[in-house]
């Protein structure tokens, strides 16, 4: 320990320090006293944007979903008629099924492959170059991705079918066969989203303490055991966030569909956003389109809520064990 300083001297120093601190606090508090007008001034643009382009439209969207609004003319209140109509709307139910099928394929693929890629990266190399290469598809728009892949998956001239033919697999009508259209969309989504998810998970992995792995290896644990017993449980908070983000993003698929299939063939890729768009801007049925978007919003809220619930239960589980 340090050499003992005379107690009297120490007390004096402390007193001086305290006095200085108090006067500092006083002048800082004085500086804060005039904050309110400035604060409102600084917040004003964001608040204005929020009120005009976020809060008001959300409330108006909810209101419109109870009307028969058709852009031209006024909105008339028709109560829950739009929602009753939704219940009987076969195309809506089809859209919901297609959307869920697409979300399961694409989000599932992105998360599983992203996790595998992140773990492999984490165990093999910390190369920024590889991480940068994986992220490149994230930079291009869904439109460019759609244009690239409609060409590569073209039924006649696409390189994918040329490869298939070379190894004896029959040609696939990727975007024009109702069976294949959604899996093809999901494949493009996975291609585009894999890098982003990989990096999120990679950063999460880097935050895990490596001593745990060393201890496990000394105990003779295999890579596979370490993956399921250590990596997955410890990564759970990051994983939960990635799952929510990915699912919510996949639910909002629109531009990729617009540039590849436009909802066809035979409604097989008519995802909810596409259906809402066609109702609003194909048939100018804004009231019904608003009701559909409210439905989509509620579905996403429920998913977020359930997912948060599940991840919280898991957290308390692991706390109980530890």
């Amino acid at each position: 320990m340090a050499v003992d300083v005379a107690p009297a001297h120490r007390a004096r120093t402390a007193a001086v320090a305290q006095r200085t601190r108090r006067s500092t606090r006083r002048s800082v508090a004085a500086a804060h006293r005039g904050d309110a007008p400035l604060a409102w001034l600084l917040v004003a643009p964001a608040l204005l944007g929020f009120l005009v382009f976020a809060a008001y439209p959300t409330l108006r969207g909810i209101y419109l979903s109870f009307t028969d609004f058709r852009v031209l003319g006024d909105a008339h209140w028709i109560g829950g008629a739009n929602f009753a109509r939704m219940m009987d709307d076969e195309v809506f139910w089809n859209s919901l099924r297609v959307t869920i099928y697409y979300v399961l394929l694409s989000a599932g693929g992105v998360i599983v492959l992203g996790l595998v890629t992140a773990v492999v990266l984490h165990r093999l190399t910390a190369s920024t170059t590889i991480r940068s290469l994986v992220i490149i598809p994230f930079l291009v728009s869904n439109i460019v991705a759609g244009v690239i892949w409609t060409w590569m998956l073209d039924s006649q001239l696409g390189i994918a079918n040329e490869l298939f033919q070379a190894v004896g697999i029959p040609r696939i009508q990727f975007f024009t066969d109702p069976q294949w259209a959604v899996p093809s969309l999901a494949a493009v989504t996975i291609w585009k989203g894999l890098g982003y998810t990989t990096i999120l998970l990679f950063v999460g992995l880097q935050a895990l303490p490596h001593q745990v792995y060393e201890a496990a290896r000394l105990d003779g644990a295999s890579e596979v055991q370490m993956f399921f017993r250590i990596t997955i449980p410890m990564l759970r908070p990051v994983l939960a966030m990635v799952v929510i983000l990915t699912i919510i993003n996949c639910f909002q698929i629109f531009d990729l569909v617009q540039v590849t299939t436009k909802g066809g063939p035979e409604n097989s890729t008519n995802v909810l956003q596409n259906y809402i768009y066609s109702k609003a801007f194909g048939q100018f049925d804004f009231g019904y389109a608003s009701a559909l978007s409210l439905g989509l919003f509620l579905i996403m809220l429920v998913i977020t809520f359930v997912q948060m619930r599940i991840s919280r239960i898991n957290e308390s589980d692991s706390e109980g064990v530890a």
């Binding site: 800082v28 643009p45 419109l64 291009v140 244009v147 590569m152 999120l200 950063v203």
Partner: protein, 302 residues
């Protein structure tokens, strides 16, 4: 532990490494190959493409597709190449995309920074209430606000104007405010207090002390925002309904894609256009690559 044990484990690890690298190699190939393929196609003669669809090199090498897309080729030349891009004026779309992406990103980051500063470093009644209200907006999906916003913009007579394109996203981003507030909260009080004791006013502290310290996060948001706006499609599709005056590249590319019916698709031209549309992203990536990768990780984990 015997030497046999160790060598067995090492061999297993060796096999694992080979499998891991093989997997990574495959992922990288699938990730990067499409970009080579659009270049190869863009440098091909559109009419000759069908003769050798699996050739790794351009078929009938030519830069005509780029000339077509850039509006440098005559109609006769375009037709001889099997191109149908009459009127695709990429210069205008590029200009529109730049105006849209730069203006909306710079404005929203500026206003978010000001708000985040007020939420983190100033003390005022109502601060927490207003902040929680703004954060609720993170939960609302785009589609909920898109249709009513379109009606609003239409009623204001701003359809097919840059104002209509830019305004709805230029003032407010819940994510930006949240992200910057987190960073500002992390800056130690002492730095600010020292400046105040030296007699600096609040605005001076904000611009001279806090903002320079926040350069990193602010650039991160500018980059992510620019990428987002550059690639945006849905809102421009609603607002830029007719003509080329404000139509950005994404929308023009989709229209180009759809204007080419079935078998007659001008693939070489389309690929050249896609490549040019993605070019600014690649340039940004070359300059800020590491920063983008880091900021994605940062934005996720928070």
């Amino acid at each position: 532990m015997t030497t046999a044990d160790v060598s067995v484990r090492r061999r297993r690890a060796g096999l694992g490494r080979i499998a891991g690298w093989t997997y990574l190699g495959f992922v990288l190939l699938v990730t990067v190959f499409p970009f080579y393929w659009i270049l190869r196609t863009a440098l091909s003669n559109n009419k000759a493409l069908a003769t050798d669809p699996s050739s790794l090199l351009p078929v009938g090498f030519t830069v005509q597709a780029f000339r077509r897309v850039l509006g440098l080729a005559s109609l006769a030349e375009a037709q001889a190449q099997g191109g149908n891009v009459a009127g695709f004026d990429i210069g205008i779309y590029m200009r529109n995309s730049i105006i849209y992406a730069v203006t909306s990103t710079v404005l929203v980051v500026l206003f978010s920074t000001l708000a985040a500063y007020a939420f983190s470093r100033l003390e005022w009644p109502g601060r927490n209430l207003v902040f929680s209200v703004l954060i609720v907006a993170l939960m609302v999906p785009g589609i909920m606000t898109l249709l009513p916003n379109f009606v609003l913009v239409k009623n204001l007579g701003l359809v097919n104007t840059f104002a209509g394109l830019i305004l709805p996203g230029a003032f407010f981003s819940a994510f930006n405010i949240f992200f910057l507030r987190q960073f500002f909260l992390g800056i130690s009080r002492e730095v600010e207090e020292a400046a105040i004791i030296d007699g600096a006013g609040r605005l001076r502290v904000m611009f001279r002390v806090i903002m320079p310290m926040a350069q990193g996060p602010i650039v991160t948001l500018l980059i992510l925002g620019f990428i987002g706006a550059w690639n945006d499609y849905f809102w421009p599709l609603l607002v830029s309904t007719s003509g080329d005056e404000v139509r950005p590249l994404t929308l023009a590319l989709a229209v180009f894609r759809q204007s080419a019916p079935g078998t007659a698709t001008d693939w070489a031209g389309l690929m050249a256009a896609a490549l040019i549309a993605a070019l600014p992203m690649f340039l940004i990536f070359m300059v800020f690559g590491r920063r983008i990768v880091n900021s994605i990780g940062f934005s996720g984990v928070r």
